[in-house]
């Protein structure tokens, strides 16, 4: 049985079935949310704290560590890449921690993450600026200010996702989420914005047409009434 199968077979956390356990987790989350010692994005957000605690339980890590290294970005929960790498180094299928080598510079920069599996097989994943450009990650400004670091994160999380996905429980790193998020600018993509304008235009036209129809109907009713009045025999 593989490790992945073990995880899918894992029993559901008790707080989902046991109301006492749920209430307790909620109280802990509320207490954490009031603390100034946790990251700002969790302060006064007991709901987010509770999700982080549930994840800490699932990952079997210290709750404080989870709160420090988990982020909620536009509704997606992600690990800090450094935390994901540390977790994989400790629990992954690797003989020793992940290492990196770099090649080229500027547009040609490429970083390779290396590791040795417990079976002795050497594994590596290379991620270059060409891939970053093609995948549109470079719209994240960090690829301009600290490209090597970003490629290290990317190559390592890719390596982890490929060779020991159970470590991340299928979740993304926060850098990965941000890279995708920056492709969707505030207010939607250029095409979304145009479609919003088009919809408004169509609605205005439809409203105007309805108004015209109502006016025509009203005019017809008025002219019919006048005709009826004209046809009435005044002496009858």
């Amino acid at each position: 049985m593989t490790k992945e199968n073990e995880i899918t077979k894992a029993e559901s956390p008790s707080f989902l079935t046991d109301s006492k356990s749920f209430e307790h987790t909620w109280r802990v989350a509320t207490a954490f949310a009031k603390s100034k010692m946790i990251p700002k994005h969790f302060q006064n957000k007991p709901e987010d704290c509770m999700v982080a605690l549930m994840m800490a339980q699932q990952l079997e890590v210290n709750p404080i560590l989870a709160l420090q290294n988990l982020q909620v970005i536009h509704g997606n929960v992600g690990f800090n890449s450094s935390f994901a790498i540390a977790l994989a180094n400790e629990r992954g299928n690797f003989v020793e921690p992940i290492t990196w080598t770099s090649k080229g510079e500027g547009d040609n920069l490429a970083v390779t993450a290396h590791a040795i599996l417990k079976t002795g097989k050497e594994i590596s994943i290379t991620v270059g600026m060409d891939t970053a450009r093609k995948e549109n990650w470079t719209t994240n400004n960090k690829y301009k200010t600290m490209p090597e670091q970003m490629l290290r994160y990317r190559s390592a999380t890719w390596l982890i996702r490929t060779h020991c996905p159970e470590v991340l429980l299928g979740m993304q790193s926060s850098e990965e989420i941000q890279d995708v998020q920056v492709n969707v600018p505030v207010g939607g993509s250029p095409v979304d914005k145009i479609n919003q304008k088009v919809k408004q235009k169509i609605n205005i036209t439809e409203e105007a047409n309805k108004l015209n129809d109502t006016n025509t109907k009203l005019e017809n009713v008025i002219s019919d009434s006048i005709e009826e009045l004209d046809n009435d025999d005044p002496f009858n």
């Binding site: 040609n108 600018p185 250029p190």
Partner: protein, 279 residues
């Protein structure tokens, strides 16, 4: 990198890799060599369809230039006299009138492209349809840049590439291309994308502007009822286009390096039925 404003002819004269260059390489390296390198090459005359497409671009995107670049033939113009009629010893009055008319007309034309009244009427309807389409008119009313040329160096091959988007928004996030087609329906235009490799254009052009995010086609039918549709190239389409563009660029760079411009296979190839034939 955006170039200074240059004309369409100047753009085509730039010896850099365009999407059309990639199309030739895709047919075979020999097609590319024969079209762009062969010292005895014959530059083909543009087809009527190509001329109509160019005229439509000018009419919709740069209407101010239309009068400067095109001359519409009059509906009641006499037939252009033949060489025999011109050289006749005693031409009829009718022929003399026609000769005078066409001499005057050619003087006015002076470098302009002639366009028949029927084609002009078609173009006018197409323009009306585009401007009457809610999405197309919204796009064309946006503040942007028309027919700007760009060059960049491909990081993988070192090839210098060029593009000339019909239109892009001021912030460069949206690139727009106007296409004439016989069928602007979804399925019809998908076939055009496949046949004319518009996906390669989408991927390739998105590389020319750093801020570019999306590529949109305004498809206009060139025959009645001259319907219009606007399509946003999907991520899958762009990715596929990028893959093929990379493959074509790599082939081109390899051919330049080796000096070998191969055609089709030189060995005997076993031929099977095409995939769409179910016999």
């Amino acid at each position: 990198m955006a170039l200074k404003r240059i004309t369409n002819a100047e753009y085509h004269a730039l010896d850099y890799v365009s999407k059309s260059h990639l199309d030739k390489v895709n047919l075979s390296p020999f097609h590319y060599w024969d079209h762009y390198i062969n010292p005895d090459r014959v530059v083909p005359e543009p087809t009527k369809q190509m001329l109509l497409g160019t005229a439509m671009h000018t009419m919709i995107l740069e209407p101010d230039l239309f009068e400067k670049e095109y001359l519409v033939e009059s509906a009641n113009a006499p037939k252009r006299p033949t060489a025999v009629q011109r050289n006749a010893k005693k031409p009829s009055n009718q022929t003399l009138d026609a000769i005078a008319y066409w001499e005057e007309f050619d003087k006015k034309a002076n470098g302009k492209t002639l366009i028949s009244i029927e084609d002009y009427q078609r173009l006018t309807i197409m323009r009306t349809r585009v401007l009457g389409h809610p999405a197309a008119s919204t796009i064309l009313k946006m503040s942007g840049v028309k027919e700007q040329s760009y060059v960049w160096k491909d990081s993988q091959t070192g090839e210098i590439c060029k593009s000339r988007p019909d239109f892009h928004t001021d912030d460069g996030t949206l690139i727009v291309d106007l296409k004439t087609t016989s069928d602007a329906s979804e399925l019809g235009f998908q076939k055009s994308v496949h046949n004319f490799r518009y996906h390669v254009q989408a991927g390739f052009y998105l590389r020319s502007i750093e801020e570019a995010q999306q590529f949109v086609f305004i498809a206009v039918e060139s025959k009645p009822p001259y319907l219009v549709a606007v399509y946003n190239a999907s991520t899958d389409m762009i990715n596929a286009g990028n893959r093929v563009a990379d493959k074509n660029l790599a082939t081109l760079a390899q051919c330049r390096k080796t000096g070998k411009w191969t055609g089709y296979s030189e060995e005997i190839t076993t031929l099977d039925l095409p995939r769409f034939n179910n016999d």
